[in-house]
Structures are given as structure tokens and as C-alpha cells.
Symmetry: C2
Subunit: 401 residues, 2 copies
């Protein structure tokens, strides 16, 4: 058996970022930059007012003075002239400071009447002025390659005058569910069969992780059918299979894919749920074989598929983000397999998060998994812990998973 | 001035969930259920084996015994006969337990040869059998209305035999940026003007929050232009404007929309950044007027627009999710305005998160906002705090914002 960390490292080492494509800024959200965003403008482009008020000369604008208002400078309409002694220009937030002015008299500190303004509070030189380039200057690297773009990043790239972005192509993830016993929802269920849940759960997880899922038709447990479906996956950046990875007599995925040029690694991972994992390559396409059990498949997907999609998307990939919480119940000593306890996650009395494992942890229980807000991580041979002890948890809801 | 909480409550009270639509299961991820998902099947559909091994009768399967293997039960292919005394059936994980059998002899505890199997460990009655309905039964409510569907939920709905889901329509959010001084990225920038960043940042934020953005052409500061654009927004569930909400002479949004049947609330919110906010209704369409300053617009969107989209999507909406962190630097006493300090957020030595405000908090600095991982929340009149004191923060990255 190999460890979760080893398996993930070997998977990540075999993957590379998808090549770049150009997308409109408006489609850039949540994509990963392939090239940095370098500013094409300076922001603000000149010294501007930070407030609504009057652009004035500091020596003039003492309490009690009266200044002649010689014009107006709304944002986007710079005042054409200059502010001379005894003069003021009405100005608005974001508007360029007219030549001659070196301070802003706030609107609330001014009394305007008949083309003049009376100063009620003495101004401070330079106050309420935003200097040219305060936010950023032309040529500055604002967003590095490899960054997954937030809404704020999109705003920043827009402000830097980019209508287009170079991002990594969204990785296309083929999903192949295998098994005689499974039927698509709504389709006739064979005797002794069940409704297929893995393919669509994994497709949603692929979306949540930033990939583009391609759900292949279910392959019955038949070598030819599996091989044909695998051929269809050659256009994918990664093929994910579910089922066929146990150690029983019906492990057809491995046997079926051999003649297609399948180079196989088959691993027993020291983890629960989800022991057996296939890793390999079908021609140029990497193949990740997940267990057929839906809970095992999803937990393995959190540990291996989400990082794989991150790497294919142009990010480093790595362990799923874990946070510190407190155990809401005593935890038993762990055996040699890395465990993932399905747990609720609620704020405790002192503001720390409380993670409480559900009483039933059977790996067939999809309803329990769906209700879990977190997976409590239990390292191999972790000691028993009392209620209230700190534990690491993966918060599932944050991931949309 | 009214409080952030008051403003949010009044906005939420004026909004209702968008009506339901039917979508394929495969498009259900991240949508909000309009009707509960009730199971149409029982899972497992019968008692099934939890492991690979042999279905046996407990009295027979004692260490040292030899049993006749009379057939095989792969998953999806139930064994047609019955297990009699002295007999065993080869069985695989998930396969239905044949009549007569009441225990599973694990594969690793068995030695098979020439049509017989030798028992190496005495079995326990009922062990390694998953009972019919262990996961869920026909008629059970598996997912409630109002739930935003995770990948696991999609798996559960599939397993419950649903090919279609009733979800709330994705709310369509019109976005109208106003201002003479702004230009779309790549377009010619007017003298003294800047590149428009609000519309596309807000569009990305709308996507992150689960809405469908409709970016309207920029409206110059001209009553007719704003009014025309507003008409185009009548097909929206909510119209968001940016700019035109200050207290200067150029507050055209209010004036322009009046003749269009605009019922206005104009609020000064006791918050920083982002004091002025328009709230109202244009005919049947609610209107949220955000400040023109990009940082103010985005912070207001986190506090008001994200909850509004949640409500329109069929969820209750409420304050953005905040977590507990420790102040990474001393914090000054706050004035009467609810403050949002742009901050980094990193795990501290003891596993708690450390939120450290950036030194420059000027509300014009979009780059600082983009680099922030969190907003530190400072209630009105919050006292000064030393480094290490607990603070509430909104983690922005989790939201894709």
C-alpha cells in the first residue's frame, strides 16, 4: 500500500498545464492566467480629487475666506484653465485636479452662493488628493501567471485596460462509469441493479474544480465496450473511470485497456474509504481509475482528482485545503489507513469550528456523505482524541463538492 | 445614516425567489432546489455484500470447513438459486445476497480450489452484509427545497433515480455602469477618463454568487441615456447601477429614472468604504445603486448584492459568511461607520487564521482589494484591539469574489 501523499505526488508529477487560449475579459472569471496581467495605464492617470468639493490653493483657503468659483471639474471633464489666487473650481470625486490647485476644500466645509464659495474650515495642503499612480503604474505586474481569477481580479485587469486574457484551456475530463449493474437515472434498472450516481456526481465535481466534464456512455462489464469508450476519451486531458478497480474477478478495466496501449499503475492506497486506485496512461491521455463505490469515488476525487484538475488548469495542485477545527466527539485510535470521517461542521461556543463525525461511517452511505459539511482527516496510526481536541478537516461546502 | 444590517434586511424583505424551472440532473450543480428530492428507490435495493468473498450459511462456515461453490453473484447479476447446507456462492461487493446465505466469508479468509472453498476464519452472522435500505428508502426526503446543490447532492439525486430537478431560475442581474469618464477596456479613453472596471467585476461577482449577469452598455451621464438603458433592464430580476449615487451635482441616476416609474429609497449607509446606496424599484424590477468607486462598489456588493442574489435564487440570504481570525496587527478604534479592512489571511503558528490589514486602505486602490484575502469587519465604535485579538473576517477567496 502507498500513502495518500505519495499517490497524489505521483499523479501531479505526471500532469502538465493545458496550453493557453485567449478569452474575452468577460469570460475570465475563475480561469487561470497563462500570462501575467501587466498594466497598460497608470491609475489614477493624474492627481485627482478623493472627494466632492472645491479645488483650491492652500494659502487662499483659510477659514472665513471667500473664493471665486471659476468653473467646474466633474469626473471625466477636466477643467480647461488654471486656478489662480482667490479662485476655486468645483470638483467631484475622481476628477483631475486643475493646475494651480494643491488642496481640496470639502463640500461639507464650504458654503456656496452666487458664484463664490466661503471657506468654513482651513484646508491642509495635499489633503483629499489621490496622487497619480497611487493604485498602479503602467508596466506593473498586477496579476501573476498561475492565478485563478476572482471577481476583483477581473476588475483590476479591466482597470489595467485588458479586454482579453491569456488563460489555460479548461481541462476536459472524460468520465467513464463501468458496470453491468448500473443504469442512468430514469432508465430501466436491471434486476439487482442500482442507479448510476458516480458519473454525474463526478461531472459536478469536475465543474466545481474548474474542469469541463465529458460524460461517456456507461460501459457494461465487457472488454470491447470499455475499450471503445476509452477510445472516445482520447480527446480528453484526463480520463476518469469508476468501478472495475477492486481486487475481484471482474476487474475488466485493466484487462480491457491493455490492448489500447494502456500503461498501468495499480495502487492500493492506505486510505479509507477508497483503497484501490488505478493510475496510468492510455496513449497520451492520463487515466485515473476510481473505486465504484460512490462514497469512495468522491473521497478519492477530493484527494486526487481535484488536485489533478488544478494542475491541468495551470496551478500547482496539492493537498485539498484543510482547516483547523475541534473534535465534537471523542475519536478512536486510527489504524494504518488514512481515514476521512464524514462530519458536521458548526461554529462552537468560542468561535472555533466544531467537527462531529456521524455515527455511521459505512462507505456505501451516500446520504451521509451528502449531509457531511466536512471530512475529518485522521492520519495513519493517529492516537485516540478526546472531545475538543484539534483536528484537521476538509470543508466540503466551500469547494461546491 | 442607516446600518449595514438594516439596509440588508430592507433589501432582502423586498425580494422573492425566482420561479422554478426543470433542468436535467447534469445541469443541476450549484442550482437551488425549488422542490425537495424524494427518493424513488430503496438503496441498497436488497441485502447486499459489503465485500468480495463468498455468501455462506453461518453454521457451515467455521474455520477448517470446506464448502461447495455452486455459482457466482457479481454485482448486477444476482445468483438465481439458493445457498443450501455445505454450499457457498462467490460474491462481489454490492451484489445481492442469495437466499439461504446469512454471512459473508471474506476473500482473504478463504482458499479456493477445484470448485470448493476452504474456510480459514469462522464467519460472524450478518457480518459484511449491508441491509436493504441502509442508505435510504423509497419516499424519503433526501434533499430539501432551498438547498444549493453540491456535487455530492447531484450523486444522491441520481442514486434516488431523478433525471430531472426542479430548481429556481437563475436570477438575471442587469448591470449598468454610468459615467462620462469611463471607457470599456481597449476602447479609446476620453481625456481625464479611466477604464471601466465595475461592470465586469460585478458581472464576475454575480456569476460567483450564482446569478446570470447582463452587462448593459455604459450610460453616459445623460438622463435620456440612463433612462433608455434602464428600460433594457426590465427583463431582469434585479438592476444594479454603479456610479451616480454620490451626493454631488451629478447624481443623474435618480433624476433620470424618476419619469420611468422609479420609486426611490436613497440611503446613507454607516459603512466604509461605500457610503451612498440607492435602493428602489423601476416598475417591477428592484434597483440597487452601488457607488462608482470600484472598491466601494465591490464591498457593497459583498454586503448587499451577494445576499440579494441568494434570496432571488431561492435561499434566505443573510450576512456574508464570516469566520473567526486573529488580528495580525493592532487595530485602531473605529468611528461610527462599519469598516471593512482589506487584509491578508494566513494560518498562524497555532493553526488559527491571522488577518493582517494592509497599511494603505484608500478606497480607490483596486490592486490592494484584489490582493486582499479577507475583509476584517469592524463594527461601529469597535474599541482598539491589540495584535492577536479575535476578529471576524469575510474570506473573499472562498466566494470566488
Amino acid at each position: 500500500m502507498i500513502s495518500v501523499e505519495d499517490a497524489r505526488s505521483r499523479i501531479l508529477a505526471a500532469l502538465a498545464a493545458a496550453p493557453a487560449e485567449t478569452v474575452p475579459l468577460a469570460q475570465g472569471w475563475s480561469r487561470v492566467l497563462a500570462r501575467p496581467v501587466i498594466s497598460r495605464v497608470t491609475q489614477p492617470p493624474a492627481d485627482v480629487s478623493a472627494m466632492d468639493g472645491y479645488a483650491v490653493r492652500t494659502p487662499d483657503a483659510v477659514a472665513g475666506a471667500s473664493l471665486a468659483v471659476i468653473g467646474s471639474a466633474p469626473a471625466g471633464h477636466p477643467f480647461a484653465g488654471e486656478v489662480g489666487p482667490g479662485e476655486a473650481v468645483r470638483i467631484f470625486t475622481g476628477a483631475i485636479l486643475p493646475p494651480g490647485a494643491d488642496a481640496i476644500l470639502l463640500q461639507e466645509d464650504a458654503e456656496a452662493a452666487e458664484g463664490r464659495v466661503r471657506v468654513q474650515e482651513t484646508v491642509q495642503q495635499g489633503r483629499w488628493i489621490r496622487r497619480r499612480g497611487l493604485d498602479f503604474a503602467t508596466g506593473a505586474e498586477l496579476l501573476p501567471a498561475g492565478r485563478r481569477l476572482t471577481a476583483r481580479d477581473i476588475g483590476l485587469a479591466a482597470a489595467a485596460n485588458h479586454a482579453w486574457l491569456a488563460v489555460h484551456r479548461t481541462p476536459r475530463i472524460g468520465i467513464l462509469a463501468t458496470g453491468d449493474e448500473i443504469a442512468l437515472p430514469g432508465d430501466p434498472i436491471p434486476p439487482g441493479g442500482i442507479v448510476s450516481s458516480n458519473a454525474h456526481a463526478l461531472a459536478a465535481l469536475v465543474r466545481a474544480a474548474g474542469g469541463d466534464p465529458l460524460v461517456l456512455p456507461i460501459a457494461p462489464d465487457d472488454r470491447q465496450a470499455i475499450a471503445e469508450a476509452a477510445v472516445a476519451a482520447r480527446a480528453c486531458d484526463l480520463l476518469v473511470t469508476t468501478g472495475g478497480a477492486s481486487v475481484g474477478d471482474h476487474d475488466l478495466v485493466q484487462a480491457a485497456l491493455g490492448p489500447q496501449g494502456f500503461a498501468l499503475d495499480f495502487w492500493q492506497i492506505a486510505m479509507r474509504p477508497g483503497k484501490p486506485l488505478i493510475w496510468g496512461r492510455l496513449g497520451a491521455t492520463p487515466v485515473l481509475g476510481l473505486p465504484g463505490n460512490p462514497v469512495s469515488a468522491l473521497v478519492c476525487a477530493v484527494q486526487f482528482l481535484v488536485p489533478a484538475i488544478a494542475r491541468l488548469s495551470g496551478q500547482p495542485g496539492g493537498p485539498p485545503r484543510a482547516i483547523r477545527a475541534l473534535a465534537g466527539a471523542p475519536l478512536a485510535e486510527n489504524d494504518r489507513r488514512f481515514d476521512h470521517l464524514r462530519a458536521s461542521l458548526v461554529p462552537g461556543e468560542d468561535g472555533q469550528m466544531l467537527a462531529t463525525p456521524f455515527p455511521l461511517q459505512d462507505s456505501s452511505m451516500l446520504q451521509v456523505l451528502a449531509r457531511a459539511e466536512a471530512l475529518i482527516l485522521r492520519a495513519p496510526h493517529a492516537p485516540a482524541l478526546p472531545r475538543g481536541a484539534p483536528v484537521e478537516v476538509i470543508p466540503l461546502g466551500d469547494l461546491g463538492i
